[in-house]
Amino acid sequence: MVKVPKIKLLIENVNFFYNDKQALFDINMSIPDRQVTALIGPSGCGKSTFLRMFNRMNDIILGTRHTGKITMDGLDIYDSKTDVVKLRRDVGMVFQKSNPFPKSIYDNITYGPEIHGQKNKSYLEDIVEHSLKGAALWDEVEDRLHDNAMGLSGGQQQRLCIARALAVEPKVILMDEPASALDPKSTARIEELIGELRKKYTIIIVTHNMQQASRVSDHTAFFYEGALIEFGKTHQIFTNPEKQKTEDYITGRFG
């Protein structure tokens, strides 16, 4: 029997606009639960914009609007009754440029749980250890948890940002080119980590690096000029794409 993955996020007829400029055109897609979905495409194709819709990060940009519907577990995330703060707890995000708070490693992790009302000290300590282990950073920092996070290397900072996202126990993790500013070794660690995280979380990753997409993802969506050109199993997209445009892109003919 073929196991059909559960759908985590359902995107229906989504259009997105920056003022009068349309950035996304009629996107329809379903993102499976506890798998890695990669969004690829040339710069400016709308993949980051699309990613930032899932935790409503675009809300903070003036002059943006959208049509269509995105549901998570059946609930409309853009519904007026939806609590954005709660949504962002469920949908964590890791940014392209690592952005730890200029505080201690410990405080970076506890920030999320604390703003959500967690005060129990031993519980917070557990979260710190658990999150850092989850982000494969614990062994490197366990004896300097109270050092400033800005003293960590670029790759460590990015894993700290992942740990920080894990600390609020999200269901979905959005990654916006998480390894684009890292050296190959750190990149490999992040990719390894994604492989671990996919067991527990639904991951959507934007990447410029096609090898990375093929290595880490189960499904791949190819965007071009704001439209979803092709979406399917990563293996199929990279070996036997249906659309000519997809093939041109993944074979490096443009982009």
């Binding site: 935790n55 990060m57 903070i60 003036l62 703060v85 709660k86 949504l87 962002r88 707890r89 964590g92 995000m93 940014f95 440029k97 952005n99 730890p100 708070f101 200029p102 920030y111 999320g112 703003i115 959500h116 400033n148 800005m150 940002c161 920080r164 996202a165 609020v168």
Partner: protein, 283 residues
């Protein structure tokens, strides 16, 4: 001329100009210090003035200036910081925001006498505070408000956008984000802005001339609705309005010295606060 020689010339030129400015200001301060110090005595600082300021001390003027500057800070700092937070963090960055910003920058360049007239019209007459500490403090507060708003906003904008995004993405509310991840890093810059404002508030004569300052009032104020003497105005009176300005020259230098010391004291406090906060930030 070779590029090298030109480089040398430019370097010496800008260095020379800088030294010149420092020397002029240094000489000014030195002159006031040397000529003012003989006048300074315990009685000069603590006694009431007599014979229109020709004799006695300047105690009421010192107290008056401290009241006015403190009052201006109490009103201007929260207002200025709140406005800056609103403009930088909450307001949509549209045309209205740009207009407000332009208005504030223009306001910073408005001559102080205009603020004096504004204070006279609004606080002294319309609100009926009369010539009083309250009216004077409010007038000074409005005068330094633009400086505080502009520099506070710059300090807020200097905090990396990534910190705000990281915080919001963790499910923090806007205020949690601003309070924990923006304000602490912007505070040193905000204090720097206040320093500039405070120095100006202590030294200005025109705004208090119309709203609070007394020509000669040899007693201390009893409430914020009283008039007070103030150092800059007292200095102005001694230098230009006194029947025998030559004779009271030492009094003028003494008063100027005290005024400078008070400004330095306020600035130092602000600088110490700023350094304290800055030390806590490690980027």
């Amino acid at each position: 001329m070779t590029a090298m020689a030109k480089e040398k010339l430019i370097f010496n030129l800008v260095r020379g100009v800088t030294y010149f400015v420092v020397i002029v200001v240094g000489y000014l301060l030195f002159d006031i210090f040397i000529k003012g110090i003989p006048t300074i005595s315990w009685s000069f600082l603590t006694e009431l003035p007599r014979r229109s300021g020709a004799e006695g001390g300047i105690y009421p003027a010192i107290v008056g200036t401290i009241y006015l500057v403190s009052g201006a800070i109490i009103f201007a700092l929260p207002l200025g910081m709140a406005s800056a937070i609103y403009l930088s963090e909450y307001a949509s960055q549209g045309r209205l925001n740009r207009t407000i910003r332009l208005a504030i920058i223009t306001l910073a360049g408005v001559p102080s006498i205009v603020f004096g007239l504004f204070g006279l019209g609004l606080f002294v007459l319309f609100f009926g505070f009369g010539a009083s500490i309250l009216a004077g403090s409010l007038t000074l507060a409005f005068m330094i408000l633009p400086t505080i708003i502009v520099s506070s906003e710059e300090a807020l904008q200097a905090v990396p956008m990534g910190l705000r995004e990281a915080s919001l993405a963790l499910g923090a509310t806007k205020w949690q984000t601003v309070y924990t991840n923006v304000l602490p890093y912007a505070l040193p810059g905000m204090f720097t802005g206040s320093i500039l404002g405070i120095g100006r508030a202590a030294g200005e004569t025109a705004p208090i001339l119309l709203t609070v300052a007394a020509f000669f009032l040899p007693r201390l104020p009893k409430s914020i609705f009283d008039q007070v003497m103030a150092l800059p105005y007292h200095l102005y009176v001694l230098a230009t309005q006194h029947p025998d300005t030559e004779k009271v020259l030492p009094m003028q230098y003494g008063t100027a010295l005290v005024l400078i010391v008070i400004v330095v004291f306020f600035n130092l406090t602000a600088i110490i606060l700023r350094n304290h906060y800055r030390k806590k930030i490690q980027w």
